[in-house]
């Protein structure tokens, strides 16, 4: 079992995920590590959607400039940009469901080799709700999951089959973990690259899902 600390740290995972984004893309970033991806887009012209009704999400406001009418989907105070537009929730999820968002980068509790994703509840224990995650994974052009490869007990979160209630069935395109990058392909997962200092053997050992070559 590879320790969770092995390979990339949170910021390195975010930086690797940022490489998935191309100039001109409209993108939705989930809560947690995905939020950090915004710090690594560099010169690329990326427009961030916040599914509560905004395109062109800016950084946190300076202290004292917080606006209660301007929050992101994580309920955090944010700012607008010169490209920003606001709209209602029905319109916002219309563009998500309609495939207008090129990519979503999301966290996960579990991912399976068939692209199944679970990230919204642990029965009887944690009930937060799916929020916009089910719409995002069903609608956006490309779903990229960013998460630790294993849980705190060292067990793989990259599974043959998800054990938790699904957020979406067969929806994940690419998985970026602290140990490397995997693609969902027919028959299982394909290793795209290993994180720095991680061998393919270590990546395979930490993965319950079928890895195809």
């Amino acid at each position: 079992m590879a320790e969770a600390s092995k390979g990339w740290d949170r910021n390195q995972m975010a930086a690797r995920a940022a490489q998935e984004l191309e100039d001109g893309m409209y993108v939705n970033l989930g809560i947690g590590i995905p939020t950090l991806v915004a710090n690594y887009v560099g010169d690329k012209d990326i427009t961030l959607q916040s599914e509560n009704g905004m395109l062109g999400m800016g950084p946190f406001p300076f202290e004292g400039e917080e606006d209660p009418d301007l929050i992101n989907a994580g309920k955090q105070t944010i700012t607008e940009l010169s490209r920003t537009s606001y709209f209602d929730s029905a319109t916002s999820f219309g563009m998500i469901r309609g495939g207008k968002i090129a990519a979503a980068i999301l966290g996960a509790m579990e991912v399976a080799e068939n692209g199944d994703l679970a990230n919204w509840m642990i029965p009887g224990k944690l009930v937060k709700g799916m929020g916009g995650a089910m719409d995002l994974v069903a609608g956006v052009g490309r779903v990229i999951v960013v998460m630790d490869h294993t849980n705190k007990a060292g067990e793989s979160k990259v599974l043959r089959e998800c054990t938790l209630p699904l957020t979406g069935k067969g929806v994940v395109d690419r998985i970026i973990t602290n140990l490397g990058v995997l693609d969902v392909v027919p028959g299982g997962l394909k290793i795209v690259e290993c994180a720095e200092g991680v061998t393919e053997e270590e990546l395979r050992a930490a993965t319950e899902a079928t890895i195809v070559s």
Binding site: E65, I71, K75, T77, E80, M130
Partner: protein, 237 residues
């Protein structure tokens, strides 16, 4: 604006005659942003109970719709997210509160559909998950979709930035969120606003929700509480 037929002096007056136990209320807002604070307080005061409320969230403990959880006036929530609300989760897990989870976009579209005379629509969202259980599945062009039903509420309560006395509404930034679809799906809609402006002072091209959807209006003040105050430091030169 005194004398206008849609303008009411208080939130309590604006809800008079519209409430009954067991009713379905659609509420605008996302988290604590753009929520109808005054009308929620008036609902608490009214004592109306056994409510079903369609709203993305249920406020936080002790604020927003959370107040109606504290008073046990809510029987059922139709929501996408219960995080950030300990009492909501407690009542749900203990079985005191019924909860129908809806994906956020499905909830928004169900409200819009209810306002637009569309009794049902198909969506990919939730296919193959618990959300699809008991719902009709139909294949279009080789892909599976589930049938979702419209929400038509007995009453909608929403919050806008400005209104004129005919009920034309303008929202501000991300406080727009669920307010337009929630307003559309109500048989009656009551809106609370920060400012009622004279007729003709809103640009007709820039009205977010036409007055036809809004039956009663009441003016603020609003607390507009911030849920997660996140900031960055100004770099010193």
């Amino acid at each position: 604006m005194t004398g206008s037929k849609k303008v009411y002096a208080t939130a309590d007056a604006a809800l008079e005659g519209l409430l009954h136990d067991g009713m379905l209320i659609a509420a605008g807002g996302f988290g604590l942003c753009g929520i109808p604070e005054l009308l929620i307080d008036a609902l608490v005061r009214s004592g109306v109970k056994d409510l079903t409320i369609a709203s993305n969230n249920c406020g936080v403990d002790g604020f927003g719709l959370g107040k109606l959880l504290d008073t046990r006036q809510i029987r059922k929530m139709i929501s996408s997210y219960v995080g950030e609300n300990a009492e909501f989760m407690r009542q749900y897990l203990s079985g005191e509160l019924e909860l129908e989870f809806n994906p956020q976009g499905t909830l928004a579209e169900r409200m819009r559909a209810g306002g637009c005379g569309i009794p049902g629509f198909y969506t990919k969202t939730g296919v193959g998950t618990v959300i699809a259980e008991g719902k009709e599945v139909k294949t279009f062009d080789g892909q599976d979709y589930i049938l979702e039903r419209a929400i038509v509420a007995d009453l909608s309560i929403v919050k806008a930035w400005k209104a004129d006395d005919t009920g034309n509404l303008v929202f501000r930034k991300t406080a727009r969120n669920f307010n337009p679809p929630a307003a559309m799906c109500g048989r009656v809609c009551v809106a609370e606003v920060e400012e009622i402006v004279p007729r003709g002072s809103l640009d007709p091209d820039m009205i977010h929700l036409p007055g036809i959807y809004v039956h009663r209006i009441v003016q603020g003040p609003h607390e507009k509480r911030i849920e997660q105050r996140t900031t960055r430091k100004k770099e010193t030169a």
